[in-house]
Amino acid sequence: MSAKQGGKGAAGGGGKAKKPAKAAEEKREDVLQAVILADSFQDRFRPFTLEKPRCLLPLANIPIIEYTLEFLASNGVQDVFIYCGAHSDDVEKFIKESPRWNHDSPICPFASVDFIRVSDATSIGDFMRDLDKRNVISSDFILVHSDVVANIPLDDALAKHRARREANRDACMTMVLRPTGQGQGPHRAAEARGITPVFVVEPSTGRCLQYEEMHPLQKEHYFKLDPSLFKHPEFEMRSDLIDTGIDICTPDVLALWSESFDYELPRKNFLHGVLKDWELNGKLFYTEILDKGYAARASNLRMYDCISRDVLERWTFPYVPDSNMVHDQSYRRVNEGSCVEDGVVIERQGTVRKSVIGRDSIVGSGTTVSRSVIGRRCKIGKNVRIEDSYIWDDAVIGDNSTVAYSILAASVVVGQGSHIPNGSLISYGVRIGDNVSLPKAQTQRISLLTEHGDSAQTDGSVVGRGGKGAFYRQIIDDEDNSDEDDDRDPAVLQNSLVYSLEGLNLSSSSISTFASHDSFDSDDEGPDAASYYPSDPDQRRSRLSSFASDDSAAAAAAKTDDAFHGDAVHGIVDALRAEDSDDFDGAKLEFMGLRLANNASDSSMRRAIAVAFVRRASELLSPEHGALEPTKAAENAFVSKNGAVKFIKEVGVGGDDVAQQAEFALALQKALHNTKGLEAGRAGVLLAAMLQQLYSLDVLEEEGILAWWGDKRAAETEDMTGIKEKCRVLVEWLENADEEESGEEDEDSD
């Protein structure tokens, strides 16, 4: 990891020669230093971050990094080091041109502001290791991300940290966390996190004992507690904490980073790893859980949304627009909780509620703006409706348009009578023609650039006549390690942020959508899975999160069921596919383990097994797997592996009871019904073949099959009936084979 020496002090403008000063600095004990990580190596803010770094995106019309710097200044930080990755020129330029932060300026509250560029850094870990080599950190320092919005005073935390460090040299880091209230219902900031961090904390000392991350898409919905935890008299597992990304570190922390070269993320890798190896390194990490004050990171678009609203509602006080923290601002509060800057024109009958409007913007007559942020020099036409949206500088919105819950970047033009639906992300300079309604289906990302940063071919069907821009498709290939696309989040979750969470709108329903889709099969959604799909995609804010584990018990049960289903099906199908062995015991063991872990019900087990075997059988019908005849396919699916038949009989059917056998047959039918790419006729044939196969293998008895035949649920829909009809031959054969017993049932069935 050879680190390039970066342009120091805003391209050498420092006047102070930094190199010789270094040695002296090491001895300056009482100077508070801070390190800002101005690149997160994520692409959650795409397409906006294609052109600008995240820390310069405006949040309530102020670049996010302003909040971070102001926070540091308010805590008396003297030396600031800014680590830049992507767009480092932009960040440097911003700081250099800022009248307040450029450290040549007499009014800069910091004694020094240094930029450090690491040319080949691919993660935060690289930054930290570079920092360790530079030897510029003399004592305790504050490590923050460049997207922190906070108003907390750190003095207490610093004092406590210092006291701990003096008592024990191994106490090397204090993390500032904020609770979102336990058991008080869902919290919007907690929902917006995306990933739920779980801190295992010793409540009396605040020592962090273990750190895990949970997210709704992971395979296991649990994590393992370290056995050594139980040596502590008490500990708490807290998933309600918001990680503010503010760490108070001693220089030892940097050494820890340097010790292992594979740590990339400060929490998931570093904290988790170091805590796990506590026996080896002996380092202690502490948490400072603050219930007063505000702190949060705009770590994704939903957090951006959440923090913007918090700013409007003054939770971030004094960092609110009418404090005019930034130099050339002149906001003042007007009626209805809004803040407007000088030169704003609101024409007659224009209504502005709980919004922020920047200088020289014009709001036309009859227009309603609510809970939104509008940048400078925007022109909003007549009779426009803007709700919950973030519109950056110089945007133009034509008459009679509507914009709902979207982000419109700088210089976006929206024509007259257009409709921008929930969750749209429209990047710089895009032009939407007149009378265009963007489709509501999923997140609309429209940009002038493609994912590789080239300019995109305008897609007239999207942006309308006279428009400019095209759909932006996120790179979702997590193996693609190109410079910025280096996200360490679980790949599935990252995809989900792209596709279903509507960018801004990571509502419970979209989460559930993913949970039920799980990995790669969409064919296994039982009717019950469909029931927690969003009923109304518009009622976004009232919905609760189902993954914050504070929901109703029913939803939680449905969730575990669903997770169990996906994992179980996957496991069995894999075992059936395996060509090098004919052993099924492993899969069976795994299945039973899953079942215990999730406390799955009999019916969900039955469903999972039916789906798994149906999938395997239908797979064998397809050309790439040999295009077997249905009979052959059914036989192959059941008997190719030792023990599979026994497994079905014992676990899938679960007994000799006629009702249970009928249930299993019904599950098979439903699974076939839901299998994609299999038309009803063929599905019916396959079902008949499978039932016959199971009959001949003594798994199902004729009573069971006939009971299924008579079951009303088997003929609920036309497709189901179609599948069922194909089995008539089999059923009749069964009836004939045993005429005396089947007499009564025959009458029922017709």
């Binding site: 004990e29 009482d30 508070l32 102001e70 200044a73 308010s74 805590n75 008396g76 930080v77 307040r100 007499p106 009014i107 800069c108 509250p109 004592s139 305790d140 108003n151 005073p153 750190l154 003095d155 610093l158 004092a159 210092r162 003096e166 904020r178 609770p179 979102t180 209230g181 008080q184 219902g185 869902p186 919290h187 919007r188 900031a189 907690a190 219930d291 007063k292 004050g293 505000y294 918090d310 509602e313 003054r314 939770w315 006080f317 004094p318 404090s323 005019n324 923290m325 003042r332 509060r333 909780g337 709980k354 804010r541």
Partner: protein, 424 residues
């Protein structure tokens, strides 16, 4: 390793300590951001402003009075702009401006006395406005600016004739291009103004004590004194009264009082009062009205007193004053004279600061955060008719006399300061 135990967060105290090592501009900017971040607020503002203006006088380069005045004005309006919710800042700026004008005219008079070339015409116009009584006459403010300019014009015309002699006339408009400013007079003026500002600082720091000096007149034995949100001034007043009188103090807090861990509101004050033999009763916001019939007097501190007699007070004082009026109990407001604002509150009322909703609702309370819009007004306007006595460091006053106090302390030229804010 011997880390300093000092806190890192900037504060007024630290700023004042570091004044010498920093450039003037950096200090001003530091104070502006301390104000914006509310790390300096309330009664500290007056002191901070005076300190900063003292620095401006002492350290900035100026050659004549006009330069000094404009520097003070620009710095002052920057400070006032940084905290529009603290009218006291503007008051101090006005006081300092008035002080400079006084010193300058004294100088000039002295000079005129010595030099024989006295132009009566010259001395008249500048002093004329200061003799007019602006009390209660609000339109004075806009009218004054033109007066000043016409004055400048007329003066420069005189200068045409009486060239060198007017060089020492510090009240000239900026138009006269006279470079041979007199270093001696500037030097003398500097030290005089610095002395004057120090006097103002003394006044600010002693105001609370002086107010407390009137305690035994206001508090009678056996009284029930209801102190709403006891400010430091009120605390001092009560303690002073406790030294001489036996009475009962009802200490009322609004719901937002957050104390150190586990302590009842105003515990320190209660301990001191009890030690002095005064019974105390703590009232939560609900209990206030129930105790009102029992109380003899209601006392609270003001953040600012307007020309009309209206007040800017901590929120919740208003309800106490209204209740007192219902029960015909006298309301006594404690306010140093430096808090008297020479203007009416019309535009100021809308500038009342909205604080952090966290005072009332925890941000951790998810459903509440989503469902509620919490407006935490940290201050509110109290109409003049609810106040009976204004207890200042100059003694108890009634509403009718506020005007004369204001005209004693401010120069009419400076009353329009708030209008100049945007020029900064």
């Amino acid at each position: 390793m011997a880390p300093s135990q000092a806190a890192y967060a900037p504060s007024l105290e630290k700023l004042l300590k570091s004044l010498k090592s920093k450039s003037l501009e950096a200090s001003i900017e530091d104070l502006i951001f301390l104000l914006k971040r509310r790390q300096v607020s309330g009664d500290e503002c007056a002191n901070a402003t005076a300190h900063m203006l003292l620095q401006v006088v002492a350290r900035s380069k100026w050659h004549d009075v006009d330069q000094l005045l404009s520097r003070i004005q620009s710095t002052g309006s920057r400070l006032a702009q940084a905290a529009p919710h603290e009218p006291v800042i503007g008051n101090i700026v006005r006081r300092v401006l008035g002080l400079i004008r006084d010193e300058a005219s004294e100088d000039r008079n002295a000079d005129e006395f010595m030099s024989e070339s006295v132009s009566d015409l010259q001395s008249l116009p500048p002093s004329a406005p200061s003799h007019t009584r602006p009390t209660g006459a609000t339109p004075v403010r806009p009218a004054l600016v033109p007066t000043a300019t016409s004055l400048a014009v007329s003066k420069s015309m005189f200068n045409l004739l009486s060239a060198a002699e007017t060089a020492d006339s510090p009240m000239t408009g900026a138009s006269t291009p006279i470079s041979q400013a007199q270093p001696t007079s500037a030097h003398a003026l500097r030290s005089e103004v610095i002395d004057g500002i120090e006097e103002i600082m003394d006044e600010i720091s002693q105001a609370d004590d002086q107010i407390a000096g009137f305690a035994d007149i206001q508090v009678h034995p056996g009284d029930f004194i209801l102190a709403m949100l006891p400010s430091p001034a009120v605390e001092r007043f009560l303690l002073k009264a406790a030294a001489k009188r036996r009475f009962t103090a009802l200490l009322a807090s609004n719901g937002s009082y957050i104390s150190a861990v586990g302590e009842a509101p105003y515990a320190a004050l209660r301990k001191k009062l009890n030690a002095a033999g005064v019974n105390t009763v703590n009232l939560a916001s609900n209990g206030l009205l129930a105790y009102m019939p029992r109380a003899n007097k209601v006392i609270f501190g003001a953040k600012a007193v307007y020309q009309s007699g209206g007040l800017l007070v901590d929120s919740a004082c208003c309800i106490a004053a209204r209740a007192a009026q219902e029960y015909s109990k006298p309301v006594i407001v404690l306010s140093g004279v430096y808090k008297f604002c020479p203007f009416d509150p019309s535009e100021e009322v809308s500038k009342v600061d909205l604080g952090n909703p966290m005072t009332y609702v925890s941000y951790g309370d998810g459903p509440a955060v989503d469902a509620l819009e919490v407006e935490n007004a940290v201050a509110e306007y109290l109409p003049p008719e609810l106040v009976d006595v204004y207890l200042t460091n100059l003694g108890p006053q009634t509403r009718d006399h506020l005007g004369s106090i204001i005209s004693d302390h401010y120069k009419p030229e400076d009353m329009g300061l708030s209008l100049l804010i945007n020029e900064a």
